[in-house]
């Protein structure tokens, strides 16, 4: 359901997407679908230990096996300096990246790559990997945040000294960074509060769960120039990272983007790419590498497990007056949890005068985390929105009403600094409150919860080209992989501007040698930032075409305007010229019609979502069933409402999985026990009801059509919404995720 109508012809409509036919017929090529004649197959040998020193690696036997063409270990990668680059979802340390791709002296989690082999068949490569002899010295492991933060904990990195402390530490620890946000006068705040709630929450590591495993084909020539086919959230970043780790020149590598089978942040970094490229260089043949599902779970980024303590105080009238948050996030084997966005978003929905937020980034012997949809925000919202729910109950104020009384609005200063521009949080709350779902009756053992969430959204460096073909059709070229329908949205914006049918426009994702630089698809940036560039390029083209019409008609430029896909004389002096006519004759008027625009826009437009969840709890087994679910979210403007709804629904369901059953389970030694979809329990179709959506449109003033990012906000509220619903159904507050049947039954038997 869309709440506002647009006066547009294409923007806001639901055309069939351009890449759709290939996807329903099996023709679309994803990462693992590429092959070249004579290519080799590569596999990774991974550490069976969670923490160990590599004493020696003996390749003799493996290298002598039939069909083996190349083997590499950490010693084959340059030991690059401690240097940080930027990604669209946070900084990236190339030294750590290199050591995560191939361990150098220590392995830091079970599944950490130790060597890679290329051979003529996958089997031969697997056999050879098994024949590699690695001698390890087992080191004591650190498996939980509590252990990792203890004073005498075994240390993963001798050179890791906590940043952000009041006085610099004199010895290394597992805490890589402390982040603090403070404002106001807390003592005064607590003084003013009539009701105070303080609780501790924990969440487990969860995986993005994209269905397509990581895959790459690399071909490196005798001249050292290489081509990579891979699916990722940003082929330019893949090139930057891969060449950095290998010590190669970015210009020597071309990355051709495959269709991407889901990423959700998890494909914003590299794992196999440098291995395949280097193996290919060593073997002189193309090398294909595809992860197994077990490898995906054990060695690619989940998002952080966390421990959080939240305290909030409110006056009787519902005004929140003080809050503190203490948060620790697991980074995995190397620093870099999303604690930054965690501390920034945890209280970002509310206007609270007195605040202290303290966050810790902690390393331990688990896979290095990677970005996952609104990195750092969902667990923070689980904690904060649970406390808000409890406050509402204590105050006797409806939970949506309590949120309305404290909601941030335009001009309010966010707890982390800047003032909010035009935002739609209040509108999402009002829509939720007035939705029939919010007042529908409930049965026994059923309960309803609500929760809200905030995400910044991101702009980023962008290049887009719009070209007109001689038949008047157009090509819209961007360099951002399309994960969820952005090609259609970009074509719609171009169609709207150019005044032609959306299906006369072909949107393409171009490789690194065919278009200028683009940041990754991440931070919900494509419809926003690439949209701006496409609209701009379309407008430049229109201007150019009007000028050409003026030339043909020999009239001043001002006498030509663009109407419905045609150049028109304002005086009516000449018959209009269609796009097709202008294009086919462009040789005579100055050459081909094409415009390229580069931008790095700010003002991505903050996104808010408010969600309502009904559950039923089986008191005998602790099973929680989601009965009804509604997502209300501000999209600024929905260019293609189907795909906006899809983002909201997909995000909410990932959050429901995180709430109920998803978790990394480790055995005593830190080995993951559930590295497969059978026991890593993502929701299946029969677990869910339809997910209702309400798209709120409070246009973003910084985008020509008002777009805000929509990809991420949807995953933020669900865990708290489910927990609040479970409370309403059972009277038990669930403070630890997941709310699995075992945990719920335990809570129910707690009386």
């Amino acid at each position: 359901m869309t709440t506002t109508r647009t006066g547009y012809k294409w923007v806001g409509t639901r055309p069939v997407r351009h890449d759709g036919l290939d996807k329903v017929t099996g023709r679309a090529r994803f990462g693992a679908d590429y092959a070249t004649a004579g290519m080799l197959h590569g596999v990774v040998l991974r550490s069976p230990h969670v923490h160990a020193r590599i004493l020696s690696i003996d390749l003799t036997e493996a290298a002598a096996m039939p069909g083996v063409k190349a083997i590499i270990t950490g010693a084959d990668l340059p030991d690059i300096p401690d240097e940080t680059g930027t990604g669209s979802e946070g900084g990236i340390n190339f030294r750590d990246l290199s050591r995560n791709i191939l361990a150098r002296d220590k392995v830091l989690y079970e599944g950490h790559p130790v060597a890679a082999v290329a051979a003529v068949t996958l089997r031969a490569a697997q056999r050879a990997a098994e024949a590699i002899e690695v001698d390890y010295e087992i080191l004591p492991a650190v498996l939980s945040l509590e252990e990792a933060m203890e004073d005498d904990a075994p240390v993963l990195h001798d050179d890791l000294f906590t940043l952000g402390l009041d006085s610099p530490p004199d010895r290394p620890s597992n805490i890589s960074r402390r982040r603090v946000i403070a404002r106001g006068d807390l003592d005064a705040g607590w003084e003013e509060a009539d009701v105070v709630v303080e609780r501790e929450y924990t969440t487990k590591a969860v995986h993005q769960g994209y269905i397509e495993p990581h895959a790459v084909v690399a071909e490196t020539g005798e001249d050292g120039r290489s081509t990579l086919w891979c699916s990722s959230q940003g082929h330019f970043a893949m090139r930057t990272y891969t060449t950095k780790v290998l010590g190669w020149e970015p210009g020597d590598m071309k990355v051709i983007p495959a269709e991407i089978g889901g990423g959700f942040g998890g494909k914003t970094t590299i794992y196999l790419e440098p291995l395949a490229a280097l193996l290919s260089r060593r073997a002189g043949r193309a090398v294909k590498m595809v992860m197994t599902r077990s490898e995906v779970f054990r060695a690619t980024g989940p998002t952080s497990g966390s421990v959080m303590r939240i305290k909030m105080g409110a006056r009787r009238d519902g005004k929140l007056v003080a809050a503190t948050a203490w948060m620790a996030y697991e980074a995995g084997a190397f620093p870099g949890s999303p604690i930054g966005p965690g501390v920034m978003t945890v209280l970002a929905c509310y206007d609270i005068p007195n605040v202290l937020i303290e966050g810790y980034d902690v390393v331990l012997n688990k896979p290095k985390v990677a970005a996952y949809r609104a990195p750092g925000a969902p667990m923070a919202a689980f904690a904060a929105e649970s406390v808000v729910d409890e406050l509402a109950e204590e105050l006797g104020i409806d939970p949506i009403e309590l949120r309305l009384r404290n909601a941030v609005t335009e001009g309010v200063r966010a707890v982390y600094g800047p003032k909010y521009r035009k935002i739609g949080f209040v509108e999402t709350l009002e829509e939720a409150r007035d939705h029939p779902h919010y007042s529908a009756p409930l049965g026994p053992w059923q309960g309803r919860g609500v929760a809200s969430g905030y995400w910044f959204n991101f702009g980023g460096e962008t290049t887009a080209t719009v070209s007109i073909n001689e038949d008047g059709t157009a090509v819209v070229m961007s360099g951002c992989p399309d994960i969820g329908g952005t090609r259609a949205a970009l074509a719609q914006m171009a169609a709207e501007e150019l005044g032609i049918d959306v299906h006369r426009i072909e949107p393409v994702v171009a490789d690194t040698h065919s278009i200028g630089y683009n940041d990754m698809t991440g931070g919900s940036r494509v419809a926003f930032a690439v949209g701006i560039a496409v609209v701009d390029a379309s407008r430049q083209l229109i201007d150019d075409m009007c000028a050409r019409a003026a030339l043909i008609w020999d009239v001043p430029r001002e006498e030509v305007e663009w109407v419905d896909g045609r150049a028109q004389s304002v005086t009516g002096a000449a018959a209009p010229l269609t796009l097709e006519e202008l294009a086919s004759g462009s040789g005579a008027t100055g050459g081909p019609l094409s415009a390229t625009v580069t931008v790095n826009p700010r003002g991505a437009g903050a996104g808010f979502s408010t969600q309502i969840c009904d559950v039923e709890v089986d008191p005998d087994t602790g099973l929680v069933t989601v009965l009804r679910y509604t997502v209300v979210q501000d999209a600024g403007r929905a260019i293609h409402p189907d795909y906006v709804e899809g983002q909201m629904q997909g995000g909410a369901v990932q959050g429901i999985g995180w709430a109920l059953n998803e978790e990394y389970i480790f055995d005593r030694n830190g080995v993951m026990e559930n590295p497969g979809f059978l026991d890593y329990r993502m929701p299946v179709a029969s677990d869910l009801p339809m997910i209702d959506t309400v798209i709120v449109e409070v246009p973003n003033p910084d985008h020509p059509y008002g777009v805000r990012g929509v990809g991420e906000t949807g995953i933020i509220p669900p865990m708290a919404a489910v927990a609040n619903a479970v409370y309403a159904a059972t009277g038990k507050r669930m403070q630890d995720l997941p709310m699995s049947p075992v945990r719920v039954l335990e809570a129910l038997s707690g009386d």
């Binding site: 087994t621 559930n674 059978l678 026991d679 929701p683 299946v684 029969s686 075992v742 039954l745």
Partner: protein, 291 residues
Amino acid sequence: MKYRAPTSIDEAVELLSAHPGAEVFAGATDLIPQIQGGRPEPSLVVDLKRIPETVRLEAENGFWRVGAAIPAAVLTAHEGLTAAFPGLVEGAGLIGSDQIQGRATLGGNLCNASPAADSVPPLVALGAEAIIVGRGGERSAQVSEVVIGPSATSLDQSEFITEFRIPAPSRGSSDAYERFIPRTEMDIAVVGAAARIRVDGDGRCEEAAVVLAAVAPTVVEVSAASGILEGRVIPHYSGRDAFWDELGEAVVACCNPIDDKRGTAEYRRKVAQVLARRTVVTAARRARETL
């Protein structure tokens, strides 16, 4: 690894006898994931599905003969079998997804020897017999005797099960199976419970069998159940009837569960009682409906 698909029992037994590293399979829904998970590949896999005896399904002389290599999807679509053994069909119908049921078999479910196998508790509750062939000829064994521990059976290397012989239900007799999983599909049972109940003309329980999955190293029968339930008209569960507590205690006494990634021992004990009650109620209702 080589693949062979014999078309007779003799040919199959010969292959197995000649290849010490050979292993039979039917649906491969356990075999292939286990190989993917790192278990060594057999040197030869012997496909049982082209042997006519393993895919036969018929009722004769007071018995049902159910081929050990029939996919679950065929069993669940079979009206006669569903009417005779609704609990067994429930068990088979819970194995994995539609895709898995297109392949998974009763023989594989049993011989994979997992304590969480969904079709095994109903087979045991029904008193089913496995017909086993091998180098020594044909023999039969109670289903409950086939599995001797996790991943271990009493079959020798040349042996396999051709079919199950299940006593046809008498009037007043029926069965039920229920399991608990955290999702609605695609999970391995945290606990499972099967019940077979026979009632007399007044709907009074004459005989009962309750069998549990995933609460001990193998599927276990609650042998005290029959004594507790006999002579009762089994109503809906209500906390008021003391015999439910007795049944619960008997269930717990049979449980020897572990804490693992799928659930805690404590949880399994609790839910085993819940499921035992639920399946007993369902089986009793179905039994009365046959009168």
